[in-house]
Amino acid sequence: MAEFDTPTELVDAARQVRDAGYKKTDAFSPFPLHEIDEALGIRRSILPYLVFGGGVIGLLTGLGLQWFTHVWEYPIIVGGRPHFSLPAFIPPAYELTILLAAFTAVFGMLFLNGLPSPYHPVFNVERFALATREKFFLLIEATDDKYDYEETRSFMESLNPQEVFDVEE
C-alpha cells in the first residue's frame, strides 16, 4: 500500500497501476474522487439492473398477491366491481414495487461493497488512520494474479509515493 499527499498524485498512480495490469486494487481518500473509478479501471456497477429486477418482482408480487386473495382464494364482490379490479390493485402493487426496489438498492449496495466488514487488514497500518483526514492511499492486494512481493513493491516505489507499507493480514 502506498501513501500519497494529493488526490492528483493518487489518480495518476492509480492509472499507472491499472495500465500495469493489476486488477485487485483499491484506493482510499478522505473525500469522493470523481476520476478514481475510471483511473482504477472499475467497471460500472450492476446495481441498477438488480434494482430494476427488484422493482419488477415487487410489481408482480403485488399484482399476484391481490389476484390470489381477490380472485383465486376468496372471491368476494366489492362495490359491484369485477374480482380483478386493476385500478384498485395499482396502488398496492406500486408500493410493493418501490419497497422491493428500495430494499434491493440498499442491501444490494451493501452486499456488492462487501459490507459490513468488521475487519480489514489495512487498519493494521498505523498511518492508514490519516485516510479519513488528509492522506490518500492506494492498495494492491497480494491475491492479485500479477502480484509478486519484490516486483510489486519496487513498482509502487516508482510511483513516487510518500511511503510504501506492507499490509499484514
Partner: protein, 403 residues
C-alpha cells in the same frame, strides 16, 4: 468573467425562425380558411385551442421553470436559464394567440348556450363571456409582471460590474421566486380550469390544474432539451454544455413523466372508486367510440415507454438520444391535450363523429406552435445564451464535464 458578445445565439437560428413563421402562418391560414369557408368553425377553433394550450405549455411552462431553477439552484438551472427566459418572454405574444379563443367562446364552450341550465346559472358571472375573458386578461397580466421582473433583473445581472453586484441581482430574483411560485401555480390552475375543463361545463375535477402544472413543466423541459441538444455541438454552447447537464435535466423529465402519470391516475382512481354519474361522464365519453385507444396510447407512450427509456443513464447522458425522447414526449403532450379537448360535448348539441376535417387538429398545433416558435427564436437571439456574469456559471460549466 465571460464576454457577453461571445455567447450570442448562432446565426443559423434565424433560418429556423423564418421557417417556423412560414409553417405557422400557412397552417394558421389554412386552418381558419377551412374552418370558416367550409363551416367547420367548431373543429377549427378547438384545433386552435389545442395549439394555444400547447404554446402556453412552452411559454408559461418556461416561466414556471425559470422560477423553479432560481429556487433550487444547481448547474442545470444556470445552463437552462436563458432558454426558459426566452420562453417566458413570449407570454405577451401568447395573448395574441388567445384572441381567436376569446372571440370564439360561443362556438367553443357549451356553457355559453346553457342559460336555462340550473347548474350553469349557479355558476353566475364566472361562466360568462366577460368573466372568461376578464380572468384571462388577469392571468396574462400576472404572468407578464412575473416574467418582466425576472427578465429585467437577469438583464441587469448581465450589465454587472463585478460578482458582488451580479450576486445581488441573483439574490433579488431568488427572493422574488419563492412567493411567486405559489401565485404562479394558482394562476396556471385557474387558467387550465377555464380554458379546457369548462369545455364540459357540468364536469369538474379538483386536480385539473395540477395536470397542467405538471404537463406544462414537462412540455417546456422537453422543449428546452431539444433546443439545448441542437445548440450543444455549435458555438458557443459547445463550450458550456456537458453530459452531466443533460443527465440532470433528463432526471427531471423522468420525474415529471411520473408526476403526470400520478396526477392522472389519482384523478381516474378517485372517480372510478366513487362511481358517481356526474363525475364518471367525462371518462365514459373518453372510453367509448374508440377514444379508449387514445387513452391507452397515452398510458403506454406518455408514461410507460418514456419512463422505461429515461431510466437508462446512457440515454439521459446522450444529448441526441435525450432530444429524440424529448420530441417524442412533446408530441404525446399534444395528444394528451387533444384527449382533453376533442371528445368534449359539441356546442351544436349534436353527437361528435370522426370525419376528414379532424385533420385540422394537426394544423392547430402546427399553426399556433409555429407562430410561437418564431417569437421564441427572436427572443432567444436577443440575449447571450448563458448568464455571462452569473457567479455560478464557472461552477456550472465544471459540473457538466464531471462523470
Amino acid at each position: 468573467m465571460f464576454n457577453a458578445s461571445d455567447y450570442m445565439a448562432p446565426a443559423e437560428l434565424g433560418r429556423w425562425r423564418n421557417l417556423a413563421l412560414g409553417v405557422g402562418g400557412i397552417c394558421t391560414l389554412i386552418l381558419f380558411a377551412v374552418g370558416f369557408g367550409m363551416d367547420q368553425k367548431e373543429t377549427a377553433l378547438r384545433a386552435w385551442l389545442l395549439g394555444f394550450m400547447f404554446s402556453c405549455g412552452l411559454g408559461v411552462g418556461g416561466l414556471g421553470i425559470l422560477i423553479l431553477q432560481y429556487l433550487t439552484g444547481g448547474a442545470w438551472g444556470v445552463v437552462i436559464r436563458r432558454t426558459v427566459e426566452a420562453c417566458s418572454r413570449t407570454i405577451p405574444y401568447l395573448l395574441l394567440l388567445f384572441i381567436p379563443v376569446a372571440l370564439g367562446v360561443k362556438t367553443l364552450y357549451e356553457w355559453s348556450h346553457l342559460e336555462n341550465d340550473p347548474v350553469i346559472q349557479h355558476r353566475g358571472w364566472y361562466l360568462t363571456w366577460g368573466g372568461f375573458v376578464g380572468r384571462a386578461v388577469i392571468y396574462f397580466v400576472l404572468w407578464g409582471v412575473m416574467q418582466y421582473l425576472l427578465n429585467k433583473w437577469s438583464a441587469n445581472q448581465d450589465r454587472s460590474e463585478d460578482y458582488e453586484e451580479s450576486a445581488k441581482w441573483l439574490g433579488t430574483a431568488t427572493a422574488f421566486s419563492g412567493p411567486t411560485m405559489v401565485i404562479f401555480v394558482l394562476v396556471v390552475s385557474f387558467a387550465a380550469i377555464d380554458w379546457t375543463m369548462t369545455l364540459d361545463p357540468h364536469w369538474f375535477s379538483t386536480i385539473w390544474g395540477f395536470l397542467y402544472v405538471a404537463g406544462w413543466a414537462l412540455s417546456c423541459f422537453s422543449f428546452a432539451v431539444a433546443i439545448l441538444a441542437y445548440l450543444s455541438d455549435k458555438e458557443p454552447m459547445n463550450k458550456i454544455l456537458g453530459k452531466r447537464h443533460f443527465h440532470d435535466i433528463g432526471k427531471l423529465m423522468l420525474a415529471l413523466v411520473m408526476v403526470w402519470a400520478y396526477f392522472n391516475f389519482s384523478q381516474f382512481l378517485i372517480i372510478w372508486s366513487g362511481n358517481i354519474p356526474e363525475e364518471t361522464v367525462w371518462f365514459l365519453a373518453r372510453m367509448k367510440n374508440g377514444w379508449g385507444w387514445i387513452g391507452l396510447i397515452l398510458i403506454l407512450f406518455h408514461f410507460a415507454f418514456p419512463y422505461l427509456v429515461l431510466l437508462s443513464r446512457d440515454v439521459k447522458r446522450n444529448a441526441k438520444y435525450l432530444a429524440i425522447m424529448a420530441i417524442f414526449i412533446m408530441i404525446l403532450r399534444i395528444v394528451d391535450v387533444f384527449y382533453h379537448i376533442a371528445p368534449s360535448p359539441s356546442t351544436t348539441g349534436q353527437e361528435l363523429h370522426f370525419n376528414g376535417y379532424w385533420i385540422l387538429y394537426l394544423l392547430g398545433p402546427l399553426g399556433a406552435g409555429g407562430i410561437w416558435l418564431f417569437f421564441f427564436f427572436r427572443e432567444l437571439a436577443s440575449r447571450p445564451l448563458v448568464p455571462v456574469k452569473d457567479p455560478f456559471l464557472e461552477n456550472a460549466i465544471e459540473h457538466g464535464k464531471g462523470h
